[in-house]
């Protein structure tokens, strides 16, 4: 279970507060969606979950399976099951995709106390997972994400997720930039990972995604706080009403 308690976050180098008291619980087996206006702090929340040090937690806590993860390094969090699919996946020139994937997969396996995969075992796994996501393995011989289209980058994030087998999946606008077919493929990839052991947090601007990935709950994040929570019908309502009602003073 993910428990976010009274989380206050500011940018490490400035005094600008971004998250001003987030309270959120995502039990295992559930998938929650977070929606909200641009600049409201959704990506910030995602990054703080993954442990990016550009941000500083000034108050509150994040518990994963009952334990605080705030003191953990990003790689320790990954080993503990946290995975963030980036809104803007990064390019790593000079590092072949397959090398990156194998290094990551085996690093996480080692830390979880599993046997590392041999190259043939890894190749078999990556071919299978890439196939399911319509990713050409040839593409993975190229440097990580370099020259990939926006949609290809998003699919490559989901491939990483499938290989690392996280238990807390945070997807930051994975749907933006995907064409209609890719959206279906990625949604199937995400749905395939839904399980009673996993908690998922999906950040999106579009109700359309939630037709494919049906959430257990929807939360509205605006001005650094969860302003409203509801069922999947909340997304439909927002589509009609917009974020007008969550004005500045609501925060």
């Amino acid at each position: 279970m993910l428990e976010i308690k009274n989380l206050h976050v500011k940018i490490a180098e400035e005094d600008k507060p971004i998250l001003k008291g987030i309270d959120l619980v995502v039990p295992k087996g559930e998938l929650h969606a977070i929606m909200g206006p641009n600049g409201s702090g959704k990506s910030t929340l995602a990054y703080v979950l993954a442990g990016r040090d550009d941000y500083e937690v000034t108050d509150g806590d994040i518990l994963w399976n009952g334990e605080s993860i705030l003191e953990m390094e990003p790689d320790e969090r990954a080993a503990a099951g946290v995975f963030l699919a980036f809104q803007y996946p990064m390019e790593i020139p000079g590092v072949a995709g397959l090398t990156f994937l194998r290094t990551a997969t085996n690093a996480v396996r080692r830390k979880r106390g599993h046997e590392e995969l041999t190259t043939p075992e890894f190749m078999k796994l990556v071919k299978q997972k890439a196939g399911e996501l319509n990713i050409d393995v040839e593409m993975l011989k190229r440097p990580v994400n370099v020259g990939f289209s926006g949609g290809e980058k998003k699919r490559s994030e989901i491939l990483q997720m499938a290989l690392l087998e996280p238990t807390l999946c945070v997807l930051d606008e994975t749907d933006s930039g995907l064409d209609i077919d890719a959206l279906k493929v990625v949604s199937e990839g995400v749905n395939a990972l839904r399980s009673p052991e996993r908690a998922m947090l999906v950040i999106t601007h579009y109700q359309r995604l939630l037709n494919y990935i049906v959430p257990d709950k929807v939360h509205v994040l605006a001005h650094g706080k969860i302003q409203r929570s509801g069922g999947k019908e909340l997304a439909l309502e927002l589509e009609q009403s917009g974020y007008g009602e969550f004005g500045e003073k609501a925060a």
């Binding site: 990954a78 990064m90 790593i92």
Partner: protein, 442 residues
């Protein structure tokens, strides 16, 4: 008016050392004369210092504190197994190996037999022969003010005279291995001559390595003359990968490129405390291609200098340079690259780039690119960058479970990999990355 300059201790002992050794150095009367001339020149010039423009970042006069004695390694007890240990990742390459120990040829440690299309002789054995001498000394014209080369000419003990026959395609790379060995610190002056005939193709690697247990201090002075024939293809790599505590590596390359040839030069420098890699390339025929690249790795107080001059003296040639440095601790990297495009050299296409990755706030990179263009129809450019490891990429790797130390290595390897890839030879690339990985894991 002449000003009497105080000789430093090192300058004095280089001169005295030569006086003691002159009788034992190999060569005919003509060679002896060349040595004496060079020794006199060195005495006049002294070690280069920072008031000489090309040496302003690398003040040898203050950095070289003493002259180590030359100690030939011809009798040092060593086995082929030792050679394998010393050359590390190069042992994986199926190559024809010629081995030198502390500047002395060791046929007993070299690959027996020969390669089709290739002749290799030891410099020492040919210096008695007037014609061979002419050949070994001829490629260094116009270098009268090069004190490091003068020292090399005075002291050169051995090296390889390599001839690749016209139209020959060497099936294996040729490895010229120079091993620093023995518990006593020493100086070695090595000279190699690489003559690649017209339309031939060859891969030649010069390696300067040390045997575990070798003295921490050492001084290498190496000069290589390279002549790439018309339409020939030469891949030429120099690896200076030591791990001593006080190793000086002073290197000169002089390359002449024939018509429509392709010359790929690469230099890796690591584990060397004071390095000056000087490279001079002259285009001597149209339509030739030069790809010069390198990687230098420094930590502690290492000082690694690459200074090159590319002379476009004829039209329609292409030159590319890419040098990448990784600098940690208080180390310092220097890149000076001068591209000259003579008035006749129309249609020249020259691009140069140097990049450094600083792993510590105390590391320093100085880059001085220079373009001297006298022709009007040319495309030339240069650039230099200096950066720290990308924090965002580090986070991206870590968020995928990759620990910081592994992520660092991954990103550093990818940074230098771009330059290494230009060698375009799978086995050699792998060996180069192997050396770099060894350095990174220390």
């Amino acid at each position: 008016m002449t000003v009497a300059v105080m000789k430093t201790k090192a300058e004095q002992s280089f001169a005295e050392g030569f006086n003691e050794m002159r009788a034992t150095l190999p060569g005919s009367a003509a060679v002896r004369e060349a040595r004496e001339g060079a020794a006199r020149r060195f005495e006049e010039l002294g070690l280069p210092h920072r008031r000489i423009e090309e040496w302003k970042y690398t003040d040898l006069r203050s950095a070289v504190k003493e002259a180590l004695p030359a100690r030939s390694g011809d009798k040092l007890a060593m086995t082929i197994a030792d050679v394998i240990v010393a050359i590390g990742p190069l042992a994986q390459i199926d190559a024809h190996r010629i081995v030198f120990v502390n500047g002395a040829h060791r046929p007993d440690l070299s690959t027996p037999g020969s390669l089709a299309g290739l002749e290799v002789e030891s410099l020492a054995s040919t210096l008695e022969d007037a014609q061979a001498t002419e050949f070994a000394l001829s490629g260094f014209a116009g270098q009268d003010s090069n004190a490091v080369l003068a020292l090399n000419t005075a002291y050169m003990s051995d090296g390889a005279i390599v001839r690749v026959h016209a139209e020959a395609e060497l099936e294996k790379p040729l490895l010229l291995v120079n091993i620093r060995a023995g518990a006593q610190p020493c100086f070695a002056a090595v000279r190699n001559v690489l003559e690649v005939g017209a339309k031939a193709s060859a891969r030649i690697v010069e390696a300067f390595v040390s045997l575990p247990g070798a003295a921490g201090d050492g001084q290498i002075n190496t000069a290589t003359q390279i002549n790439v024939g018309d339409e020939a293809r030469l891949t030429h790599v120099k690896i200076a990968a030591d791990d001593g505590s006080g190793v000086t590596h002073l290197a000169n390359w002089f390359a002449r490129l024939g018509k429509a040839c392709e010359y790929r030069g690469f230099q890796l420098t690591q584990g060397v405390n004071l390095a000056r890699n000087q490279i001079q390339v002259a285009f001597d025929g149209e339509d030739a291609k030069l790809d010069l690249s390198g990687v230098f790795l420094g930590r502690g107080t290492d000082h690694v200098d690459t200074t090159l001059v590319v002379d476009h003296a004829v039209p329609s040639c292409e030159s590319r340079e890419l040098f990448k440095g990784v600098l940690d601790g208080h180390s310092r990297g220097i890149f000076q690259g001068k591209i000259i495009v003579q008035a006749v050299a129309q249609k020249t296409d020259g691009k140069q780039m140097s990049q450094a990755l600083l792993l510590s706030p105390d590391a320093e990179f100085d880059s001085k690119p220079e373009l001297e263009i006298f022709a009007d129809d040319v495309v030339c450019g240069h650039g230099a960058t200096c950066a720290e490891l990308d924090k965002d990429l580090m986070f991206y790797c870590q968020s995928r479970g990759i620990p910081t130390d592994v992520a660092r290595v991954l990103l550093i390897e990818s940074f230098i990999g771009e330059a290494v890839a230009l060698v375009e030879d799978e086995a050699i690339n792998e060996a180069l990355m192997g050396f770099a990985r060894d350095w990174l894991s220390k």
